[in-house]
Amino acid sequence: MTIKTTVIGAYPKIGDGLEAQELRRALHRHDRGEITDAELTKVFDEVTRAAIGEIEAAGIDVTNDGQIRWDDLLSPFARAWAGITPGPLERFYDNNTYFRQPVIDGRIVTDGRSLVRDYTFAAGVAKTKLKAAVPGPMTFATLAARDDQYGSLEERVLAIADATAREIAGLKAAGATTIDIEDPAIVASPKHIELAREAYARFADPDLDIELVTYFFPADPVLESLASFPVAAIGIDVRSRDTTAFDRLDAFRTHSVVLGVVDARNTRLETADEVARYAERALKLVPQERLVLATTTSLEYLPRDVARAKLTALVEGARLVTGEKVLA
């Protein structure tokens, strides 16, 4: 058995060659009214197909849809949910990448189907195991620009968690069995960890593999707390900042650990050996069947050609640990 590999978050939407910039051109043309919504949807679909194809070609075991339609982590829900209006632009944590801060101006309501169409399309394309992803409730709540509806952070988080629960149920009904909840706020604001636990209890489901994915910041202050979250796996970024996580992974006695070992925010390319060494460190405390190697976060922080090379290094590194040869 080999160590499994996966991706986190968004895949680069365009490449450097003009032929790989169809989506960029289509969005400009759509803005100018030169193509219809349906024509733009077709381009989104094709780019999604290409992203899944590239991830699979690298040999990744569990893919996602590349989040090609997402402007930012919060946008799929910020656009779809009643009670939310997209607000001002703000920098997304410590990245030179921006997002629209949600403004909560009414009771949050969703039919739970915000991502079902995209998931269903991706499921028809993916040849390997496909996972879904949703923005985490702590991140959505703490990055809101304004809240005119809920009286406290606690109320806001739990309302968002309830809406997220409906989205998760919608994805499950559409066939999803694994769902990443991308929630960097849990490690960015560790003081809210107990509130986060309460939120995650709202969508606990023993029949689903829910993965709480953190990134950008070390999980050190909350590592042991995360081990009692009602989810199947915990994602940890061990590259963005110094961390003691490698020495404490035995805190996870039942959870799988999705270990972000390939730095998705720097072009410096890891060697397969380097990836294998990270894996071997983790294997001292986590059994192989519960260890998944991953990128630290969205590969969209990198140019597409580098993203591809990073995935190859990830897969080669994972296979090196078990001595398996990489198939050309």
Partner: protein, 327 residues
């Protein structure tokens, strides 16, 4: 009433005229030569100097008609950098994120020629415009230096040399932008150390623009940044950063953003004037400079003119109010 109260300025960039945007596209595709492109950049610069004078701004900028991205412009001119692939910043906007691939060095000055040209077109002072060392590092990939601090300090020496060249060329105001300074609040000491290298020995007034991020996370430590003036986006934030000055008084000059640069609509003169009045609660008029929140390069030329006009007209309103107050 002194003319030196509430000096108006802008953050640095303006929208490019359509003919220049088109020409840059042609140049990128190899269909227009560097000399032809530069001619158009000079034409656009001259137009912006004239517009700023017509609007009545006090401290001018060259408008950065010759720059695309504020980091890539410098990276393209420094040894040790290579230009990376396209990365998305937001929506459908992409930029070539630079890569620090080797030892950094500055073969020659990068902004002095444009400063001299812009200053030759006006009797009003023009600011020299640089990107700060911390932001140059944070908005690049670092493949070459062992730590982020090592790379920032190497960049600080380069920016220092450029700032000294600007001062020798006559710049009385030198702006060293650090919009990334709060990217990692735990690294504020690196940004401060680096800025100390850049501004040591300069007699020009030094300014640093900071925007988009959690300013509260670096306040009041940022008051130790060795510059005379901090230049802050405020309108976009509903002026909430001013609340921080209640507990820890603001000790520098403040360039205050009173119009949001990411909205197509322009604030009314009354709204913009109210922004200045808010600033005056914490910073005296001689140390308060009204301006738009950020660079205006994402706006059309017409929108830039509207927003700058709102700044100037709002300032006139508040100056009149100040003149009525007995000393």
């Amino acid at each position: 009433m002194s003319d030196n109260l509430l000096l108006t300025t802008t953050v640095g960039s303006f929208g490019k005229p359509e003919y220049l945007t088109k020409a840059r596209g042609q140049a990128a595709r190899g269909k227009l030569g560097a000399t032809e492109l530069e001619e158009l950049e000079r034409k656009a610069t001259a137009e912006w100097i004239r517009r700023q004078e017509d609007i009545g701004l006090d401290i001018l900028v060259d408008g950065e008609m010759y720059r695309g991205d504020m980091v890539a412009y410098f990276a393209e001119r420094l040894e040790g950098f290579k230009i990376g692939g396209l990365v998305r910043s937001y929506g459908n906007r992409y930029y070539h994120k630079p890569v620090i691939a080797g030892k950094l060095a500055r073969p020659k000055s990068m902004t002095v020629g444009w400063f001299e040209y812009a200053q030759s077109l006006t009797s009003k002072p023009v600011k020299g415009m640089l990107t700060g060392p911390y932001t140059l590092l944070d908005w690049s990939y670092n493949e070459a230096y062992p730590t982020r601090r090592d790379a920032v300090l190497a960049l600080a020496e380069i920016v220092r040399d450029e700032a000294r060249d600007l001062e020798r060329a006559g710049a009385k105001y030198i702006q060293i932008d650090e919009p990334a300074i709060h990217a990692r609040p735990e690294e504020i000491y690196i940004a401060i150390e680096a800025m100390g290298i850049v501004t040591a020995g300069l007699s020009a007034k030094t300014i640093s623009h900071i925007c988009y991020g959690d300013f509260a996370a670096i306040y009041p430590q940022v008051l130790d940044l060795p510059v005379d003036q901090l230049d802050l986006a405020m309108a976009n934030y509903g002026y909430r950063w001013l609340d921080l000055f209640e507990r820890n008084p603001f000790t520098k000059e403040l360039a205050i953003g009173i119009v949001d640069v990411h909205a197509h609509t322009t604030e009314t003169v009354d709204e913009a004037a109210e922004g200045i009045r808010k600033g005056l609660r914490y910073v005296p008029a001689a140390k308060l400079w009204p301006h738009p929140d950020c660079g205006l390069k994402t706006r059309t030329v017409e929108e830039c003119v509207e927003k700058c006009t709102a700044v100037v007209e709002a300032t006139k309103v508040v100056r009149k109010e100040l003149a009525k107050v007995p000393a």
